[in-house]
């Protein structure tokens, strides 16, 4: 299969879906001239025109709000946030409007829109340009939160999001944009929303992870396999509402669970996954559930501190080994 970057995979998804459905349009900061910080929008304005590919004022509130309004008027907007961190600017629009409109109006309408939100650590971008904030949205009914961990899923998941009638937040890790991988050319290649994927089967312990942390989860699995521990690795893909069945079935088989994400550990998604497993499969557990995540500080600037903040493969390996002591 041909190999392309994660960024190109998302661009391909946008192109194919915009050709397929003329209700899709995209707006955000620096899309037309710059083509996106990671080149993820390059050439879109040339193909679809500046009526469908819009450079907005620097107004995240109006970008999200206008996307919601346009979706109510029959369009399928994509709102780019530049950096996930900037979603704080438009939180009212996200949690009081976008998430609630369908429900509080009794199903009279749908809100088919996608927020694209580049997140995660990248080369000392520091406290306001590096965060992984997915857990905030886990607590808000009415939104679906998804995130791919590789170029193929980046394409298939974005396409599925663009076809969904629910409002979706699509987190895309900034460090993954340059990553190269095999990506299907099939225009009907979709990654289903709401389903987790067992990326590697195993029998002794389950690692639940997502986004860029999947790489460390798989790395840890390889190290542990060499030491005789069989590891099952699940990529959640949809973070809210997450696929409880796949996680619970896996834990029933392996009897051990570790959740790993790049976001801050405290109050992170790991806590929710752990709670669900504790509620529904406690009797199957042979060891305490463990979590690996970033330290509880803002993201620091200096490379040495950023590295200290970052969750590591070794923490996953050590955590799992401790379960077998």
């Amino acid at each position: 299969m041909r190999k392309i970057t994660f960024s190109e995979a998302t661009l391909e998804a946008m192109r194919e879906e915009m050709r397929r459905d003329d209700r899709i349009f995209i707006m955000g900061e620096d899309i037309v001239r710059q083509g996106g910080i990671f080149g993820q929008f390059k050439g879109l304005s040339e193909e679809f025109g500046i009526e469908k590919v819009l450079d907005t004022p620097i107004t995240e509130t109006a970008i999200i709000g206008a996307a919601i309004g346009a979706s109510l008027a029959g369009m399928r907007p994509v709102a780019d946030m530049h950096f996930a961190d900037f979603m704080g600017v438009s939180m009212d629009e996200i949690f009081n409007q976008m998430a609630k409109i369908r429900y509080m109006f009794g199903g009279q309408t749908t809100v088919p829109m996608v927020i694209r939100a580049p997140d995660g650590l990248i080369r000392s971008a520091a406290a306001q340009h590096s965060q992984s904030i997915e857990a905030w949205f886990n607590n808000i009914p009415g939104i679906k939160v998804v995130t791919p961990s590789n170029p193929a899923d980046a394409k298939g998941l974005l396409k599925a999001a663009l076809r969904s009638d629910d409002p979706i937040i699509y987190f895309e890790n900034k460090d993954l944009f340059r990553q190269i991988g095999e990506v299907p050319e099939d225009e009907e290649y979709l990654v289903p929303i709401g389903k987790a994927k067992i990326v590697k089967e195993g029998t002794d312990v389950t690692i639940v992870s997502y986004s860029i942390m999947m790489q460390k989860a798989l790395e840890a699995a390889e190290i542990l396999e060499a030491e005789g521990i069989s590891v099952e690795v699940i990529d959640l893909i949809t973070l809210s509402p997450f696929d409880e069945v796949t996680v619970i079935e896996s834990v029933k088989k392996t009897n051990r669970l570790l959740i790993a994400h790049e976001a801050v550990k405290i109050g992170g998604l790991g806590g929710e996954v752990a709670a669900v497993v504790a509620e529904k499969a406690l009797d199957y557990l042979d060891a305490p559930i463990m979590r690996v995540g970033a330290k509880f500080t803002p993201v620091p600037f200096s490379p040495t501190l950023e590295e200290a903040y970052r969750p590591k493969t070794k923490e996953i390996v050590d955590g799992i080994k401790s379960m077998f002591k």
Partner: protein
């Protein structure tokens, strides 16, 4: 101006007033749950503005939204049922007074967040521009809401993209329980239009004909693709911020004086009679029809069932 148009102004205003009076009664008795904000005294604005719109045009409303909803052509049966929290209401009992909407007539929703509607209305206007229709979007907001940051973001975006939208300010002088001048940098909200390079006009919001004409000009301008305007309607909030508001911040005399001098319905009634557009008999007939309609709506609401527990999870997600 035709007799029919005048009759429809009267009917809409009287319908809003009658609806609100019944709502006040049931809310005071506790039969309508939740917060209720009444539009009494401001009826001319919704009636006059919406008379310029078709069902394909959009409005975004506020927490004080019953008047806009009625004027846009929504059914009072389904509104009443919604306010009572019944399954037959517009939102199946999930929204209530602050979240009433009728998408079938372009009423995109009341909003419990002050200043929450601007950006949504701007997006609806953007959609119509992309689709190349002649439809327009109107957002209603209060004097208090004009201090929100969303006001600035939406107006700048609408102005720079010349979107088909009109910003209708209902300046009722009260931002909840605070006199607006104590928290607002300008006396006339329309002055703020200068900052966006767009027209800003001031209108007597209790004169339904003036409201109709002036908002009509802004709406037609938007339809022609010439961009947004701010139309500021000067009015006065007759009732408290919400039903049950003890109104410690003003005297009853002050309110009564303002209402008696400037009740938009009374003013219009004497105008149409003295100018010979409608007879007292014709007015009485309109009143009777409206009262029957509202009575029937109340009956419909009372007769309707509450939603069942299993409906809690319905309409959360599509897929």
């Amino acid at each position: 101006m035709s007799k029919e148009l005048y009759a429809s102004f009267y009917e809409t205003m009287f319908k809003i007033r009658t609806f609100e009076k019944r709502i006040e009664e049931f809310s005071m008795k506790g039969e309508i749950p939740g917060f209720v904000h009444l539009y009494i005294g401001e009826e001319a604005i919704a009636a006059g503005v919406c008379a310029n719109l078709t069902k394909s045009d959009y409005i975004q409303s506020t927490h004080r939204g019953h008047g806009h909803t009625i004027a846009k052509g929504a059914s009072v049966d389904k509104m009443m049922a919604e306010l009572f929290g019944k399954r037959t209401g517009y939102c199946k009992g999930k929204g209530g007074s602050m979240h009433i909407a009728d998408f079938s007539v372009g009423m995109l929703g009341a909003n419990g967040i002050v200043g929450g509607g601007y950006t949504l209305a701007t997006g609806a206007a953007l959609a119509e521009k992309i689709k190349k229709t002649n439809n327009v979007s109107v957002v209603f907001f209060g004097d208090g809401a004009s201090n929100r940051g969303t006001f600035h973001e939406a107006l700048n975006m609408a102005a720079v993209w010349k979107l088909p939208i009109v910003f209708v300010c209902e300046n009722n002088e009260w931002a909840s329980t605070t006199p607006y001048l104590t928290t607002t940098s300008v006396k006339d909200i329309a002055d703020r239009a200068v900052g966006y390079g767009i027209p800003g006009v001031i209108v007597d919001g209790n004169d339904v004909v003036k409201v109709y004409e002036e908002s009509g000009k802004a709406i037609e301008r938007a339809r022609r693709g010439e961009g947004p305007s701010i139309v500021e309607m000067k009015t006065y909030r007759i009732k408290g911020h919400f039903v049950g508001d003890p109104e410690m911040y003003r005297t009853e005399e002050e309110v009564q004086k303002r209402f008696e001098a400037n009740d938009p319905i009374k003013r219009f009634e004497s105008k149409v009679i003295s100018e010979g557009f409608l007879s007292e008999n014709e007015i009485k007939k309109i009143q009777e029809t409206v009262i029957n309609e509202i009575d029937a709506a109340v009956q419909f609401a009372f007769d309707s069932p509450f939603p069942a527990e299993y409906e809690l999870y319905e309409d959360l997600y599509v897929d």
